[in-house]
Every structure is written in structure tokens, then in C-alpha cells.
């Protein structure tokens, strides 16, 4: 006997699949090439930079893997990633620096 009901898995899959596509398609599909007012565009310029930091901040402060307690290796890895990203302006360099910092700190402190 498994833990999660098969029917639930598929109901959630269908709802989530359709809903996710709708969210992604809503503006591209419906607004299309109609011009958007400048104040909308001005807000949209900051979408990524307003959503992604908010998404990451709780993961850094309260990592699920440590049961939600602040974790020095992960915090340092996050700081190294940001600094490397600001200095190099290169995504891959920032990722590699962050991963290296994480493994070194886990080895030293873990």
C-alpha cells in the first residue's frame, strides 16, 4: 500500500498542469500585440528582481533541509554566490562559486 492516493496524484496533476499553463499564457496570449500603458511597463521592468529575491530569501534563512534553522554553510554559500554574481556579472561563475563555498563550508563545519 502506498502513501498517496493515485486518484489524488492525477487530479492535482491535471489541475496544476492546466492552471500553470493558464498563468503563463494569460498575458502573452490574450493581450498579444496591444500596447500596454507606460505605468504597466514601468512596473513590469522590476518583475524578476521583485519576485526572485522574495522567493529565495526564506530558503536561505530557514532551509527546509536543516529543519528550518539558520545554517552557516548555506548562509555563507548564499553570500558568496551574490558577491561572485555582482563582481563577475556571470551566472555560471556565481553558481560555481556558491557551490564550491557550500561544499567547503559543509566539509569544514559539517
Amino acid at each position: 500500500m502506498r502513501d498517496v492516493a493515485t486518484l489524488d496524484i492525477w487530479i492535482v496533476l491535471i489541475g496544476l498542469g492546466l492552471g500553470s499553463f493558464a498563468l503563463r499564457f494569460v498575458f502573452l496570449g490574450i493581450i498579444g500585440d496591444r500596447p500596454m500603458p507606460p505605468w504597466v511597463l514601468r512596473h513590469l521592468r522590476y518583475t524578476a528582481v521583485a519576485v526572485l529575491p522574495g522567493l529565495v530569501a526564506p530558503m536561505v534563512m530557514w532551509p527546509p533541509a536543516t529543519g528550518g534553522t539558520l545554517d552557516a554553510p548555506r548562509l555563507i554559500a548564499a553570500a558568496v554566490t551574490i558577491i561572485a554574481g555582482l563582481v563577475t556579472r556571470n551566472v555560471l561563475a556565481a553558481i560555481l562559486s556558491g557551490a564550491a563555498a557550500l561544499y567547503i563550508m559543509l566539509y569544514l563545519l559539517g
Binding site: R24, A50, V51, L52, M61, I82, V91
Partner: protein, 238 residues
Amino acid sequence: MTPQTTKSTYWQGVRAGAPFILVLVPFALLFGVVATEAGFTVIETFAYSALVVAGAAQFTAVQLLSEHAPTLIIIATALAVNLRMAMYSASLTPHLGRAPLGKRALVAYLMVDQAYASAILEYERHPEWTVPQKLAFYFGAVTPLFPLWLTFTVVGAMVGNAIPPEFALDFAVPITFLAMIAPMLRTGAHVVAALVSITVSLALAFVPYSMGLLVAGAAGMIAGAQVELWMARRGAVT
């Protein structure tokens, strides 16, 4: 600079997307592992990656399914995690809104954080690109990502829990996002938007179902737009 063809922007897209393989592969593996541990079959795990195409929402759904939450609550919560996609969709519309409907649908289906982030960065750097060039870049960026996303979900589902927790794959996700954010902080307005987003998100972390993130995103966008207006006005006066 020489004018660019759609072929060259496609390959630029591939090069922009390729670095994310390093983080997407562990992420996909991790999803496969987590889903099978929760009791998913390999086919169910694969179906989630193929139809939802959104790691964070998929993890949310699996977590809540194993907690036996009501299905409607699970769908609503996972969609709230994915609401940022609507903002991405809106943000890509000025660039790709004139593309044919079928291609816009394909862009929507393949929309992931990494593809969006790479694309919007290049579109702002190259306002002279045509719609076909922009589309080519976008599809280039997802070319190395989407097939590997599916493949490594299945690999993860098959190797199950053979990956020890010492590898700290959980932190692949935050590191990727942080690496993507840093190059986006081009002006003071971008920095303020990011700081406001972090502050509001942490302050509202107690709000269930990721609703705090939605408020944080909206607050960050308003802050960025207001700082931009303020800087423009100050520039006009002095």
C-alpha cells in the same frame, strides 16, 4: 556591430541557457527522488515534470500530497507558487506579443525561471532584435534545459534515495536563483526592488500558502517603479 540573424540569436540562447544545466540536473534528480519517496510511480513523476514544468510548484504539490491536504488546496497553493509566471508572461508580452499564437503558446508552455531571466536580460540589452530573433533566443535558451529536465526527473525517480543528503542538493535551487539575481541589479531602482521584496517576504513568511511572496513581489515592483520615477524627476530638475 553586425546585424544578427535568427540563427545566431538561437545559438546565443543556447549559450545563455547551457550554464543552468548544472543546477537544473540536480534539481530534476531531486524532484524524481522526492516524488518517488512520497509514493509516486516513475510515470507519475515524469508526468508532473512534463505537464507542470515548474520545479517549485511540483515540490509544493508533492509535499502537500504526502501531507494528505485536500486536492483543491494543493492545486491553489502550487499555483500561488507559480503566480510569478503570470508576471513573467506580462513582462515578455511587449517583446513577444506580436509572435504567432502557436509560438506564444509554446513560449508559455516552456516558461521557466531560467529561460525567462536569460531572455529578458538579452531583450533589454538588444532592443533592436526582431520578434523572430527574440523567439529564436528564447527557444535556444530552453533547448539544453527542457529535455534534460525530463530525462533527469526520470533518472531521479529510478535511482530513488540513492543520493545521500551530504550532497546538499536542496541548496541547488537558492544558489541558482541568487546567481540569476545579481546581474539583474543594474540600477538603484532594481536594488531597491530586490531589498523590498526580501524584507516583505521574510516579514510575511508566517502567511500560509506562499501568499506572502505575492505581496512581496507586488511591493518590490511598486518600489522599483517609484524609485525609477523619482530618479527620472531628480534627473530632470538638476
